[in-house]
């Protein structure tokens, strides 16, 4: 079984936000409105986190596009009381919206704050105008959601490959964020496939994993030349 | 007055209403054991850490059975030793 992972090159990333927007459009993520967003309830499966180190005038800024890191040892699935979030055989940490009881324990347990809650039943206005993605289910009020590595694209890709009688090719399964990045900073593929770009990049000298000391074994690897990350090389 | 009360009492006690108390408690503990067994089965079927379910059931079920035992001891002990 493939182990789907992502490599994000922080030295190519311009923090333009195209990945954030593409993800929201692709996955029917509702717009919560300015009032709710001011309260801190914006849902952004892919989020760009600004990190500032040092004080003026020696500030070093870094922008971190953070999807769900799809850990191989996810702290969130351990604490779910109802099997609503689990690690599926493809290595994707899946979310079963219909079973989630909304206890938000997984949200409290995730050290990357990658899980989001639907506080109000925000409606996706695009449905009214026919602009929603029919491949992605709409989440109801009171359940937890997060980045799925555009799992629906994997299913469609597999279906297409099977219909055409061939193996799944790398071009068949590209998440929306990777597809939309103008500097091609996001690479996606099978980490277990030794020939894939993702596997090669994840072994790069510049590679590190966020909060690797926690033992979560995330499958999103970041690349940077910054020397501060020497302790966290993958 | 006490003797009157006692014979009337005997009638009531032999009525079926009293047996509901231990039956309800047995049903509750029985239901709980069934539930824990079901959760063990679910965790085995989903290949999801059955050790946790088994470990906890090894502690929880004896505790509930002990409480059931205490209640039954009390119930039958009181009813038998009325004289």
């Amino acid at each position: 079984m493939p182990r789907w992972g992502m490599v994000i090159d922080l030295d190519s990333c311009t923090a333009c936000g195209a990945c954030v927007l593409a993800c929201k459009v692709e996955n029917n993520v509702p717009a919560v409105g300015p009032a709710e967003a001011a309260m801190g309830r914006d849902i952004a499966w892919m989020e760009i986190i600004p990190e500032a180190k040092g004080a003026y005038p020696d500030v070093r800024m870094r922008f971190l596009p953070r999807p769900c890191l799809h850990c191989d040892n996810p702290p969130c699935i351990k604490v779910c009381p109802v099997h609503a979030t689990y690690l599926d055989p493809d290595g994707i940490v899946a979310q079963v919206y219909e079973r989630c009881i909304g206890c938000r324990f997984c949200m409290a347990a995730c050290p990357y704050t990658a899980k989001y809650f639907n506080w109000h039943g925000y409606s996706c206005e695009r449905t009214a105008n026919g602009g929603a993605n029919p491949d992605v289910s709409m989440r109801s009020r009171g359940v937890v959601e997060k980045c799925t590595f555009c799992h629906h694209r994997l299913q469609k890709g597999r279906d297409r490959a099977r219909a055409e009688g061939r193996e799944l090719a790398p071009e068949d399964y590209v998440p929306a964020c990777a597809e939309s990045c103008p500097t091609r900073a996001i690479a996606f593929g099978d980490l277990d496939d030794p020939g894939s770009e993702v596997a090669r990049l994840s072994r790069s000298v510049r590679a590190f994993r966020l909060l690797s000391e926690l033992g979560t074994e995330p499958k999103v690897v970041y690349l940077t030349e910054s020397e501060e990350e020497t302790g966290e090389r993958a | 007055m006490n003797r009157e009360v006692r014979s009337e009492e005997d009638r009531r006690i032999t009525s079926r209403l009293f047996i509901l108390l231990p039956i309800t408690f047995c049903a509750f503990v029985g239901g709980l054991i069934v539930w824990v067994a079901h959760l063990i089965r679910v965790s085995i079927r989903m290949r999801d850490v059955p050790n946790a379910s088994i470990g906890i059931s090894l502690v929880a079920i004896p505790v509930f059975l002990l409480m059931l035992g205490v209640f039954n001891y009390l119930y039958w002990g009181l009813l038998r030793n009325r004289r």
Binding site: I101, R104, M107, T113, T216 | N2
Partner: protein, 460 residues
Amino acid sequence: MRGLDEARDGHLLRPILGTGRGTVLAMSVLGAGVLFGALSYGKQLRDGLGVTGLNQPVSWGFYVTNFVFFIGISHAGTLISAILRLTKAEWRRPITRMAEVITVMVLFIGAGNILVDLGRPDRLLNVIRYGRYQSPLLWDATSISAYFTASTLYLYIPLIPDIAILRDTVSRRRWFYRLLALGWTGTPRQHKVLERSMGIMAILVIPIAISVHSVVSFVFSMTLQPMWHSTIFGPYFVVGAIFSGIAALIIAMAILRRAYRLEAYVKPIHFDYLSRLLLVMSLLWFYFTFAEYLTGFYGHEPEEMKVFWSKFTGSYAPFFWTMVVCNLAVPVGILSFRRLRTVAGCVVASCAVCAGMWLERFIIVAPTLANPRLGYAPQTYLPSWVEVGETVGCFSLFILLYLVFTKFFPIVSIWEIQEGRTQGVEETVERVRSYLPDTEPASVPIAAGMRALEPKEVPL
């Protein structure tokens, strides 16, 4: 069977026999509080959890705080009552039932708070169908069920002789008391069965109670979050629970004493003894808190220090320092001095402790969530009126349930008071004699020697 001594203890049945104006007033006020809570929850059911002040990442707030707080209060009853029974502390007699009722009633409220916190309460059955025992929430469910069962049994068993008294003296609801009295006639063999059952439950309930609050603490300590992932949480929460439980019991005792004119039964000495325990728990709580924060500070891990400073000097500082004052300064300041250990002084200290322990739960839950690991700016959490309403509803419902209990059963254990007057005094005299050196020669076995001694031979 030892019947009710009308002249001395008939007073204890008065709340059951009739309802005065004070009770009606209290029930109306509490009913209004419960209604407010119900309306708040109704709004939440209609519009979603968004009506609270919760947000990303502070996704747990008042409701989880209330859950931990009320489960903590539950340690009052059964634990104190069980420990006092096992140590044969004779001063427990008027207060054991008050304590046990607290436990049984407050567990409803505690568990209810988790239901209120769910985003999809209609899917609660999923916990039954798909529950995962790897999750601390399932440990909670099991442990709290066990504790509820144990404490209900532990409340019911010593209640049986009093129910028999009600069956024989009260004319209302006689069928109800007859059913629950289980044919109690007061024969010596029945007494033995009863006492043995009470003894077993008193021993069993203690590890269950400890497991309950340890498991509640595991909800936090099993995550990897800064200032939550700490090994001290299990014992820390248990100590805090016993601490807040004793305070709640003192408050309950004071209110019941005034409302039902129980001054003859619940005396200043009971408050004195309990508040000494409260003082000890206050110092013990402080020791755990100090150890926890010193360890965090000494290690100086950056992510833990973010949370640490948020509590000490940041936005949660007012709550943190109020908590320290309420949990340490006030109880130690009042209860260290015998002259201040009056009923009023104990109640003031206990109210401070209850407030302080609520704040303690709050500053465990919120600051860690508000300061997540990645480079987020700390998020503020302001509770909305819905959460305040739910809290008011919780307190009101708990007190209302307690009040309803006192209308059906005597809140002071009549048979245990009667037993204390005769057997209790005799047994205590014998016991104290057995501790002291006697003047009999060594060849006489102690057990036989005890009875054979003339009072004047024993140096007391």
